[in-house]
Symmetry: C2
Subunit: 342 residues, 2 copies
């Protein structure tokens, strides 16, 4: 960090040093898509060398756009968001846009604050993975954003926003069907907050499969609460402590953090995955590749979610109307979907 202000460097100095036209410098520095990587490298190197930084005010006033997209994430610590963000980044980068991410950490007040910040920063579009669809403040902040908004796996309701939706119900229905076919009648569904669509859709897939098989839904076996590993661990421990006949013989875990908690309970209680209690988890992650036995999973393509969300934002920036895109989920049988042990 230099303590004094740098001497005034102009765009002409950068063009001279890079040996290119001033207009090329301007295009390269504003991340214009029609700039070759080689040209961009040359200009960035010269700008870095001279410590040149264009005037952002002038630049965004000229175009009306900042070539940035904002993303308010619910929980950075969830590795699933890392994959979504990676997909968003790649698609935006190809189009010459940059992503700015900010975290609401599950705090509704902070969420509204972050939305307001990104609006002030004049991002060209906004991606939101909100904490709760029931929050009036968040809905109002989203509805009044005045730039394209894409909801990530959230119900758009009556808002004029785009959305990337996952067909969670289909994958969970398939998983429940398979467990029923194997002979399970007491299947627990443990998941996070029902204030967001993924949880509700997973519960819908679960109850639809039970209904279709004529198996009554036992409220005790359907636990939604917090997206936290401790909620999932305690719920699993409670359910597995039930007397024989009431105890679930199979568990479906809805979400990454839930999965960690359910697995903690299995190890703590010395329950063998599959052999003692069947298990299906939602969302495939790298570390599931190295665990044995291999856990059955309802998969979705997180990177593709990110890419499609970015594509929706970009088409709206160009004037398209908001629309919803639904991506599939799929049940993948591995080694923990077995007939009931008792």
């Amino acid at each position: 960090m230099a303590t004094e202000e740098p001497r005034s460097v102009t765009i002409h100095d950068v063009a001279n040093l890079a040996g290119v036209a001033v207009s090329s410098v301007s295009r390269a520095l504003s991340s214009h898509p029609d700039v070759s990587p080689a040209m961009k490298a040359k200009v960035l190197a010269a700008a870095a060398e001279l410590g040149y930084s264009p005037d952002p005010g002038a630049q965004s006033l000229r175009s009306g756009f900042t070539r940035t997209v904002g993303f308010v994430v619910r929980d950075f610590a969830n590795p699933f968001f890392g994959e979504i963000i990676h997909g968003v980044e790649e698609a935006l980068n190809d189009a010459g846009y940059t992503l700015l991410v900010t975290n609401s950490s599950g705090d509704p007040l902070r969420e509204v604050d972050r939305l307001s910040l990104l609006r002030q920063r004049r991002v060209d579009a906004l991606l939101v993975s909100s904490i709760s669809e029931a929050s009036t403040r968040t809905s109002k902040a989203v509805a009044s954003f005045n730039r394209p908004v894409v909801l990530i796996d959230r119900d758009p309701r009556k808002m004029k926003v785009a959305s990337i939706l996952l067909d969670h119900a289909a994958g969970v229905r398939e998983a429940t069907d398979d467990l029923l076919r194997l002979g399970h009648r007491r299947i627990a569904m443990i998941t996070g907050s029902s204030a967001i669509r993924p949880t509700r859709e997973r519960m819908r897939g679960y109850t639809e499969a039970l209904d279709a098989a004529g198996v009554a839904v036992d409220e005790e076996l359907m636990a939604s609460g917090a997206f936290s590993s401790s909620f999932a661990r305690e719920t699993t421990e409670r359910l597995l402590a039930l007397p024989r006949g009431e105890r679930p013989t199979a568990i479906i875990a809805g979400g990454v953090v839930t999965t960690i908690g359910v697995l903690e309970a299995f190890t703590e209680l010395g329950q063998r995955l599959g052999a003692d209690v069947s298990l299906v988890v939602c969302d495939d992650l790298p570390w599931l590749r190295v665990m044995r036995p291999r856990i059955s999973v309802v998969t979705r393509d997180a990177e593709e979610m990110g890419r499609q969300a970015a594509a929706l934002a970009l088409e709206m920036i160009k004037g398209a109307e908001p629309r919803s895109v639904t991506l599939p989920t799929a049940y993948e049988v591995r080694e923990t979907s077995l007939p009931p042990a008792e």
Copy 2:
């Protein structure tokens, strides 16, 4: 997304609706630290209701500060960054600052571009987890940032920047000592790019322990390359295919992504963790809690790294000189540090 511009709402409208003074609205919306959560909630709710957004230009010109801190991350998909970011966010939030994160995805050109963007966006301070300390372009962009910069586990060299450093060497030295004490003489060290400090420090701890024990360093067993699971998987497969006597009897995996690749190779080759080949990994993560056997690990506190990095940035914003803070690592013996099998 509304398609027409909203009618002009002023700060007075917000103050009226919230029933507070205009100065309170101003303080609440600029995330001033001396605002109670209740006041902030009231103001944000009123602003959201009216669709009010303060003029960011005027606001930042007035104070000279934007109350935002930027963070350029090397790889969002690495869950370890999620934990660091969580720590940064918490500390910044307590101080009334907001974090904006952007990803370089391991691309040096993109890294310089992101640094330039955050500079244009006039963040009050910058956190950087750079791809390579050898990149002249990145160093120049950092040195000319003109606002406080904190490097995350990178060597500050001669730059006038702060840094959070981890004592990786100590933890890896302890781990290597323990494996030597158990009788291992052929210990492999598999890690990522040596263009960044963590890798070099891990290699230093490893070689220092071998030197102290009078065991010659075998270059073939010391593999640094890419921070990718495929590099780690292929290296592990190659090493475990060596004839008896050349084959390592223990492996130290340096980093999260490396760990995934090493574990993939173990499962593919049917090698039992600990029983066939001892294993120590660097960085403890939630999913290591649920794997059996429990893998020995060199731990560090990622959230604390984040909190301390934010604290350095905040003290520099207030005028403090840049300094370096070093945090410890520790070797934690679990179930995969065993005597050599052959």
